[in-house]
Every structure is written in C-alpha cells, then in structure tokens.
C-alpha cells in the first residue's frame, strides 16, 4: 500500500470518513445485499460513510451500480463535510495503461515532425565517393572490393618524401555533381590541410578545400513525391553552401581486444563534401534530401555507390530554438550539435528526432545545450556523446604548400553542363504530365533495377505505339495505352518472379520478356482482342520461353484465345436466366429506386454479375460489359416488371 494522501488522512481523522478506493473486495457486499434496490432509500451503514471517487470507470457493472449508490451517499453526506475534497485522479485499468505506454513508445514518425512552441533547424553535410578510375592525388587505382592493400601508392601510405600528384580525371564527376546541384563552379580553387591524428589517416592530415571550394551557392528542390514532411507543403528548396573535394580515409575493421585491421585501398579516394544551408525544418525533409542527393549523384554518374554500400555518408547538425525567437529570421540559431555515423535514411530521421527531443528537454529544464559531437546507432532512443566541445579539436587549417591551385577551364564546364543528360526530376515530370502516370508509379519505374526498368518501359511503349498506329510525337491524345504499359511493366512483371535478378533486365531495357512481345500482348489487350486473364497467361508463357520471340499473335491463333465476346442479346439472355427467382435481391434495388435505401446496392449487383459469369461461357464474357448490361436490365426491365406486378 502506498503513501496515504493528506486529504484522505484529514477526512478520516477529522470526520471519520474512510476511503475505500481501490479496495475491490469491499465493493461486492454493497451490491450483494439481497434487499437492495436502486429505488429504495440508500443504505445507511453503521460504519462511517464512504468517500468514493465520483468517476470510477473500470470495474464491473456491479461496482458501477455501487458507485452510483455511492454518489447518492456522497451527496447526502458531503454537505456535512468540512474539509474540502482533494481532486482524486481517475483510476485507470492496468491493461489500458499498458496499451497507452506501448502506443507512446511506438509513436510513428509521421506524428513527430514538429513540436509546438519550438523550431528545429537542421543542416546536413554529405560525403560522397566519386566515380573515378584513380585516386585524387595518386595514380593508384580506385577500387571498391579488391583484395586489401593492393592499390596503394607511396603517397597514400605517407611514405616520407612522397608528393601528391593531382589526377585531372577526378574533376569530371566532381563538376557533374556540382552542376546537378545547381552550383556555380569557381574557376580557381585551392587545397588546404586539415590536421588530426588517427590511424586511418597515414599522413596526419587530410587534404580538403576549406577556404576556397570548387563550387558554391547551389540549391536542391524537393517535392512532395520525394517524401518531405507534409508540414513543408508541396515543394521546398534547400540551399547548398558549397561543394568541395577531399580525400577519403582508410577502411578499419574492428576486432576484439582493441585490435583494428587497416586496409589502405581507400586512402586518398576522391570524395566530395556537400554542405547545405541550415534551412531544413523537419526530420522527414532531411531524410528526403539525403535520398534525393543520392539519386541525383547516381543519375549524373558522380557517385554510384549508395548509403547502404558505404559510398555516401551523412553528418547532421541539429539545433532548436523557441518559436517566438524564430519569427525574426535573422535571429541567432540555437547551439548546434553534430551527429555522425548515420548509415541509412531512416537513421537520419530517427536521430534528428531523438536529438531534437533531447535538446528541448535540456532547454526546458533550464539547462544549456553543449556544442558537441554525438553518435547514433540503429535501434537507439537517444544520441550518445562522442566528443566534447568543438573548440577542443583544433584542425589548424592551412593551405597545402605542395599543391598548386585547381584551375577548371570554362570549356570543360560548358561541355559537362551540356552533356549531363535529362535529370531525374525532368524525366518524372514528363512521365506524370505527358503520360498521366501517378507520381508514385513514375518514381518506382525510374528507380527499379538501377534505371533499367524505365528503359524497358520506353521500349515497350514505343513498340506499342507503333502497333496501335499512334504517332509518337503527338501525345495530347488519350494515354490509356501508356498507363496500361506502365502498370504491366511495374506490377505484372514483378509478379513473374520473386528475385528481380531473375528477370535479367539489361541496361538497355531488355529482359527475359522481350519488349516487342510484351508490346504485342498489350496491343491486343488494348484493342480488347484478348481478355486480361489470357494476356497474363501469355506473359507467363513468354517469360518461360514457351512462346518464341515474335510469336505471340501466332500462339493466340493456335490456341484459339481470341476474345469472341457475346453480343448484347446473349448477355441479356444470361442476365434473364440469372435474375429469375432472385426477387429478394431485386427487392433491394427497388428499395433504392423508391428512395427507401440510401446507397445503391453495389454488392448485390456484383453478386448477380458473378452468377452471370458462372452461368455463361466465361471465356467469352467481359465482367465490365456484364455489369453494365445487368445494371441496364435491372433498371429497364426487372424493376418495372416488379412494380407492375406488385
């Protein structure tokens, strides 16, 4: 038994009233008394009257009655009560309490984007490995999974006397990435040294571009389809402060006993660091930004390994300030903390939410947020401190005296800008606006199979338009065929096999189902020359190789799969057959017609259509046509007959 509240103690000592709250076994005697009836006068027990909470919810109805009884008791005796009754919290059942706790813990990110009264500010630094043949300052080969320490030049191992030698080909993916992010390429930029000691950096310093980066002032536009927070609306634009070239460090694998194995293949690989402006206000938008940057860099062939493979890493800077201070846009931001070691998009969002909540808790308790570096691991609920205040690590940036300035010619920038190709946003916009696909479908199509599925779709669409005789250039017409092709490329192809690799999708957009064959199937389907069921069967046969390439039409001929639809009269005949004796069902339609029912009995209609399909020759019937005809028959023939008959 816990501590007795003062109010109850008061009541007992001063007026002899004992609270029975929570004493379940004592409730029963009240209701179990044989002569008790709600209309009789309430019992006046010899014991002092009981003070009960007015709002008891959870016990059985007996207790509820007893509670009601107690109310009358209370009102009878409360007038004589001198000490005021303290507010007693309602008793909540244990099961409900546990449920609420679980719900709180599993609070979805969707509800977690804003905290009222506080404004979140997030800035992101993304490190992406460039897709080059050689490293940044040495001619050793850039590799990803080769045997350890097999591509190490003297400079990478920081052998005394070795000098850096800038490799010009690294400029190509770097400039492409900066152009895709809308940055202005600086004609002259310089390299600086960032000094710190760690075993994964043999030289003791990292060559980066701190003072004069090669690209500045870009922007990235995020749309609702990219998965930004709903609070950000339709579209949000995040500025990019700069993009700079820098070196990567060695790969370390940890082993028990404080032992680490080093692979220097990765030392000196070219990285770009993309630093955004602190304009992000919601965690989901931050995750969407990292995802979009990965997509953009892959599209321009600047960075081909994603976050899961370790080719892209993100560090996040988080700060909060009160909503009142936020109204002055030039006002100071709160102290920021940096979160490192984020290895997936979900981790980015979860870590920002956890850090924001921690900072708000610290500030609300009256504390001060320390500017420090924190880490996050999958499955945690809070970030943990990695390193103390910012000022303790001094990188002593200095211009690198061994390297000359990086001068990028205007002609190269112009050439790269003109040969970037169509960027993903433009492609998706075209699919949505011109072809009528939904954003979700367009996104899925362009990202599946590393961009091969969309090529397949274009091939199928081209062949389909040729077969249907639709001019490719004129796209103002009906795009139903494009939607059909998209649905089949996305969903039907996916149903064929569990593993996407079994489809054998090549980069040019061909797979085990040749695009010409799929276009043949779809053209027949579009013209309603075959049913959907037959079309799916054909697809399956083509996938398994049972139908030779180009032999779709022939196979339909051979197996007699053409859709010889019933005529209207035959449909009507079957409808009459089915509707005989279904007076009860037809009665529902009558009730709707007479206004007695609120909604059209669609379910009953489909029941009748199903009966039709079973009654008639199914391979010659189209469910949509059967429904239409049944509906018409009901309206025109059966209901008037019933009305006349009644």
């Amino acid at each position: 038994m816990g501590r007795i509240p003062t109010a109850e103690l008061c009541r007992y000592l001063l007026s002899g009233q004992l609270s029975r709250r929570g004493c379940v076994h004592l409730r029963r005697p009240i209701a179990a008394t044989a002569a008790w009836h709600p209309t009789t006068r309430p019992l006046q027990p010899s014991r002092p009257s009981r003070a009960r909470p007015v709002t008891t919810r959870s016990f059985a109805s007996q207790a509820h009655n007893a509670g009601a009884n107690a109310d009358t008791l209370d009102t009878a005796t409360s007038s004589s009560l001198t000490p005021p009754r303290a507010p007693v919290p309602p008793v909540v059942a244990l099961r409900k309490q546990l449920k609420e706790q679980k719900k709180k813990k599993k609070k979805k990110n969707v509800d977690n984007q804003t905290v009222p009264g506080w404004e979140l500010t997030v800035g992101i630094e993304i490190h992406a490995q460039l897709n080059t043949a050689r490293k940044l300052f040495s001619p050793a080969a850039a590799s990803f999974n080769d045997p350890p320490n097999s591509h190490v030049a003297l400079f990478d191992a920081a052998v005394p006397g070795s000098q850096p030698l800038f490799q010009p080909e690294t400029v190509i993916p770097a400039v492409r990435a900066a152009l895709a992010l809308g940055c202005a390429i600086q004609p002259v930029s310089r390299f600086d040294r960032k000094h710190y000691f760690h075993w994964d950096q043999p030289a003791g310093y990292q060559i980066t571009q701190y003072y004069h980066p090669f690209a500045r002032d870009g922007r990235i536009v995020l749309y609702a389809r990219d998965g930004i927070a709903p609070e950000d609306g339709d579209r949000v634009e995040i500025g990019i402060r700069q993009v700079q070239l820098e070196q990567d460090t060695a790969k370390t694998t940890a082993h028990p006993g404080g032992v680490h194995w080093l692979d220097l293949n990765r030392v000196g690989l070219p990285l770009i660091e993309i630093i955004t402006l602190p304009q992000i206000r919601h965690p989901a938008t931050a995750a969407a930004l990292v995802r979009k940057v990965q997509t953009l860099l892959a599209a321009v062939d600047a960075c081909v390994y994603g976050m899961e493979a370790g080719g892209l890493r993100a560090d996040v800077n988080v700060s909060v300030r009160r909503a009142e201070d936020a109204h002055a846009p030039a006002g100071p931001l709160g102290t920021r903390t940096e979160i490192k070691n984020l290895s997936s998009f979900k981790a980015v969002e979860d870590a920002i939410i956890a850090e924001r909540d921690r900072q708000i808790a610290v500030l609300e308790a009256g504390g001060v947020v320390q500017g420090e570096t924190r880490g996050w691991s999958l499955g945690s609920t809070e970030t943990r401190r990695l390193r103390a205040k910012e000022g303790e690590v001094d990188y002593r940036y200095m211009p690198d005296p061994d390297l000359g300035p990086l001068v990028i010619g205007d002609d190269l920038v112009a050439h790269l800008a003109s040969s970037l190709g169509v960027l993903p946003d433009t492609e998706i916009d075209e699919l949505v606006e011109r072809r009528g696909l939904s954003s979700k479908d367009a996104l899925s199509l362009t990202t599946l199979d590393n961009g091969a599925r969309i090529q397949y779709f274009y091939n199928v669409l081209g062949a389909l338009e040729e077969r249907l005789g639709l001019g490719g250039g004129d796209a103002d017409g009906d795009q139903r065929h494009a939607l059909l092709a998209a649905n089949w490329c996305l969903h039907e192809l996916g149903k064929l096999t569990e593993l996407p690799s079994e489809l054998g999708m090549t980069r040019d957009g061909e797979c085990r189902v040749p695009s010409a064959d799929l276009a043949a199937i779809l053209s027949h389907l579009h013209r309603r020359e075959i049913t959907a069921r037959v079309a799916k069967e054909l697809l399956w046969c083509v996938f398994r190789g049972e139908i030779a390439t180009g032999g779709v039409t022939q196979a339909i001929d051979e197996h007699g799969l053409w859709f010889k639809e019933l005529s209207e009269a035959e449909y009507a005949e079957i409808a009459d057959l089915v509707a005989e004796g279904e007076t009860k069902v037809l009665g529902e339609f009558l009730r709707f017609k007479q206004g007695k029912a609120k909604a059209y009995p669609h379910g009953k209609l489909m029941f009748l259509v199903g009966k039709m399909m079973r009654a008639g020759p199914e391979e010659r019937m189209d469910p949509a046509a059967a429904e239409r005809i049944m509906r018409a028959r009901i309206e025109d023939v059966y209901l008037p007959a019933m009305e006349a008959g009644v």
Partner: protein, 229 residues
C-alpha cells in the same frame, strides 16, 4: 608574390645600427641585391663595407635578460601582449594537437616555454612587415597568366577519359564503364605505382592487413578525432 622581396634589410637596420653605419646604408645598395652602385656615388672599399655586419637575425629574437651589450635591444623590449602569454596548460594542449610527448619535469616545461616565446617573438617581428595589397603566397608555382593556362584542366586534358564513356538510355546520361565487380574497368591501372611492398614496413600485420592496437576502450584519445571528417 612572383619574386621574394627583402624589405627587412632596407628598414630594420635603421633601428639597430649606429649613425655612422646608417650613412653607409643610405648611400650604398643592399648586400644581396644585384643593383650596382650608381656611378655618381663615391667609391667605397668593399672589404671595409663587408667586414662589419650591419644586421643580425638576432635582432628578431627576444633580448637576452642578462646581456647589456646590445643597448639597442632595450629600446626594443616590447612586452608580450597579454592574451598571447603561453601558459603551461596551453603548451600541453599544443603538444597534444601535434601528438608530441608532454614535458616530464618543470625544467623541461620552462625550457619549452622559453623556446616557444622566442619563436613567437620572431614571428611577431615578421608579421610587422607591411603586406597591404600583397596576396599571400600559398605555394611556389608559376602564377603568371601563362602558368595558369598551363595548369588549368580543360577539355583537352580529360579528352581520353571522356572518350571512354558511354551514353546510356533515353535520357542520354553519360556512364563510365566499370567492371562488374566494381573494379577500375580499364585493365591494369597504375600498376607501376602500386608495385612496391606496401606491408613491408608494417610493425604488425595479419594477412594483407595492417594491425593497429588502440588503448583499452579508447576510441578517441586526447586530441584525436573520429573517422571521416
């Protein structure tokens, strides 16, 4: 700067030399420049000129507290600005940043502090030079227009790499050809640069890996930073 200048020799000696020598300075050329003395000036004896030093680098070092010979140094006894006094704590921090061993005794600390103070005095004297309008030299490179043109990366420089790329898909996006397993895709790249015994100077190794031992549970010790910055 294209050419290193030596402004000190024309200015600093004025403070540290006696009037007689100063007369020599104003009339003769500086010792290391290649200017010849104008023919109208009177003939000087080179041996006499060069026998007495007119400037010593000691002028840039802090005055020794015990000596009294350099009377001119006392006029130069500038006090260290307060904020730049090196305390033992600061010394320890600087040594940690450079991964140098900490001093083991008080005398060693005092010696290090004295050396550091002398070095800073020298640096401040150098910093007093007027460099308004002069861009700092970052590396000794040819920064004339012709030199910049030669060093710039143009279309011609990377023509080969661009020629090896393929254009893929309806969106005409360029792609660098890669081997399926993620290798370089261009045959043996950089073979000569990589063909040395990488693990030869490893203190400890396992298979083809270098082995490093960290302190017990010490991922980021004093002054050390974590992973990729």
């Amino acid at each position: 700067m294209a050419r290193p200048r030596l402004p000190l020799l024309t200015r600093a000696p004025r403070r540290f030399t006696t009037p007689s020598i100063r007369r020599h300075q104003s009339s003769s050329s500086s010792s290391s420049s290649t200017q010849t003395s104008p023919p109208s000036k009177p003939h000087h004896d080179p041996y006499a000129l060069l026998s007495t030093p007119t400037w010593s680098i000691r002028s840039l070092l802090p005055p020794k507290p015990t000596t009294s010979s350099t009377t001119t140094s006392t006029t130069e006894a500038e006090t260290e600005p307060e904020e730049s006094t090196i305390t033992p704590t600061k010394l320890a921090h600087l040594l940690r940043l450079s991964a140098l061993p900490q001093p083991t005794s008080a005398s060693e600390t005092a010696e290090m502090l004295a050396t550091l103070r002398a070095q800073l005095h020298f640096v401040r004297a150098i910093q007093r030079v007027d460099t308004r309008g002069v861009a700092p030299l970052q590396a000794i490179r040819d920064e004339t227009a012709a030199g910049l043109r030669e060093a710039s990366i143009t279309l011609a420089t990377v023509r080969d790499a661009l020629a090896r790329e393929e254009v893929v898909g309806r969106c005409r996006r360029p792609r660098r050809p890669r081997r399926e397993d993620g290798g370089s895709g261009e045959g043996v790249v950089g073979a000569e640069e990589e063909s040395w015994d990488v693990l030869g100077c490893a203190q400890e190794k396992v298979g083809r890996y270098f082995v490093v031992r960290s302190g017990k549970g010490d991922g980021d010790g004093d002054g050390m930073a974590d992973g990729v910055e």
